[in-house]
C-alpha cells in the first residue's frame, strides 16, 4: 500500500522522535478511534482513557507499522483490538453476550426488537444500532462514517471481505425494518 507522501513523512518524523508529528497524527485520527471505541465498547466511563491507550500503543509500535495498509486502517485495527480486550477483561459478561447475540443472528434475522415508540428517528436508529452485535455495528460505523471499504474493514476486524459485506447488509436490513415500523406507526396515528 503506497501511503500518501505527507503520511509517510509524518510516520518517518514520528519514528525519529518528533512529538509534534505525533500530535498531528492524534488530531487526524482521534475521531476515527473514538468512533471505533464507541461502537465496540458502547457507552463507557473509560471511553477517553481507552482512546488514549490506543494512541499510546500506536506511538510505541509505530516502528512495526509495515505500510502494507493505510495508516488509518492500522490505527483502527489497534482501536478495535484494544476495545475487544477491554470488553474481555472488564466486562466479560458483556463480551459473552455479544458472541451470543451474533450467534443468534446467524439463525434469526428478526432479533431483538426494541422499545421504539417514544423516540425520534435518529434516537431509534441509534438504539437499533446499539442492539446490533458488536461486529455489525462496527462494520456500519466504519463503512458509513469513515467511508472504509470492505477490504479495509476486513483488515481491521481480521475477517474476510465477504463476511463484512454480509454483516453490513444484514445490519442495514434490520435497521431498515426499524425505520419501516416508525413509518407504519406514523400512518396509524391520528
Amino acid at each position: 500500500m503506497n501511503q500518501p507522501t505527507d503520511t509517510r513523512a509524518l510516520i518517518n518524523q514520528i519514528r525519529h522522535g518528533n512529538r509534534d508529528a505525533f500530535r498531528t497524527l492524534v488530531e487526524q485520527n482521534k475521531r476515527l478511534v473514538s468512533h471505533v471505541i464507541y461502537r465496540t465498547a458502547g457507552h463507557i466511563n473509560d471511553h477517553e482513557d481507552l482512546c488514549q491507550d490506543v494512541f499510546i500503543k500506536v506511538y510505541q509500535n509505530i516502528h512495526k507499522f509495515r505500510e502494507d495498509s493505510k495508516l488509518s486502517t492500522w490505527i483502527a485495527q489497534i482501536a478495535f483490538n484494544t476495545s475487544i480486550n477491554y470488553l474481555r477483561k472488564k466486562r466479560p459478561s458483556l463480551y459473552e453476550d455479544e458472541s451470543r447475540i451474533l450467534a443468534t443472528y446467524e439463525t434469526n434475522e428478526d432479533l431483538p426488537d426494541i422499545q421504539i415508540e417514544k423516540m425520534d428517528r435518529n434516537q431509534r436508529i441509534a438504539k437499533a444500532i446499539d442492539s446490533l452485535p458488536l461486529q455489525m455495528r462496527t462494520v456500519i460505523t466504519l463503512y458509513h462514517l469513515e467511508e472504509m471499504s470492505y477490504k479495509e474493514i476486513g483488515e481491521i476486524m481480521n475477517m474476510p471481505e465477504g463476511t463484512m459485506k454480509s454483516y453490513l447488509f444484514r445490519a442495514r436490513k434490520k435497521l431498515k425494518n426499524v425505520l419501516s415500523q416508525e413509518l407504519e406507526l406514523k400512518d396509524i396515528q391520528p
Partner: protein, 176 residues
C-alpha cells in the same frame, strides 16, 4: 419485473451496480409504489447512518494523550531484514570457514607460537567446521544451509523486496 430485493436495494445504495442495472432498478422504483417506499427508507437510513453520533472527547484530549506518552520511543528497533541479513552473514562466515578449513588449519599451525585472539578464534571456528562435518557429513550441512535459507526467505519482509523491485522497474522504465 418482480420487486427489488433487499440486497439489490443495498447494492444500488452503495453504487455497486453498473449503469444499465441502476437505470433498470430506478425505472422500476419509479413505477412501483411498494419499491419506491422501500427505496426511500433505505435512502433515509443511509443519510442517518452518515450523521456523526455523539462521541464525547474532551477539548484537552490531545494534550492529555501527549502528556501520557512515554518519554522516548524504543531505542533499539530490530527490523526483520536486519535479523535476516545478520543470519545470512553468519551463515556465509561459517560456510567460508568450513570451506577454507584446511588453509585455516595451516595458518593456525604455522602461527602456533603466536597467541593472538584472532588466531585462537580462527582455530575454534575451524574446529567447529570440522566437527559439523564429522557428525553428520556433507548432506547434513547442506540440509542445515537449506533450512537457514528457507528461514531467511520467511524472515525477509516480502514488502521490502516488492518495493525495491517496483522501484527498480520504475527506474528502468524511466517513470521515476
Amino acid at each position: 419485473m418482480s420487486h427489488i430485493s433487499d440486497s439489490q436495494f443495498q447494492e444500488l445504495l452503495d453504487d455497486n451496480l453498473n449503469e444499465r442495472q441502476s437505470k433498470l432498478f430506478l425505472r422500476h422504483i419509479w413505477d412501483c409504489p411498494q419499491c419506491r417506499e422501500e427505496w426511500q427508507i433505505y435512502r433515509q437510513l443511509k443519510k442517518t447512518l452518515m450523521q456523526e453520533p455523539v462521541v464525547p472527547l474532551s477539548n484537552h484530549f490531545t494534550d492529555d494523550t501527549m502528556a501520557s506518552l512515554p518519554s522516548r520511543l524504543p531505542r533499539f528497533i530490530i527490523q526483520r531484514w536486519i535479523i535476516a541479513v545478520s543470519s545470512l552473514s553468519i551463515l556465509a562466515g561459517i560456510g567460508a570457514l568450513y570451506y577454507f578449513r584446511d588453509i585455516l588449519k595451516r595458518i593456525v599451525l604455522t602461527n602456533a607460537g603466536f597467541e593472538s585472539p584472532l588466531l585462537q578464534l580462527t582455530s575454534i571456528l575451524s574446529t567447529i567446521g570440522n566437527f559439523i562435518l564429522r557428525i553428520g557429513g556433507d548432506q547434513v550441512v547442506l540440509f542445515l544451509i537449506a533450512c537457514f535459507a528457507l528461514l531467511l526467505i520467511g524472515l525477509l519482509d516480502k514488502k521490502v523486496f516488492q518495493r525495491r523491485t517496483k522501484h527498480s522497474f520504475q527506474v528502468i522504465n524511466g517513470t521515476l
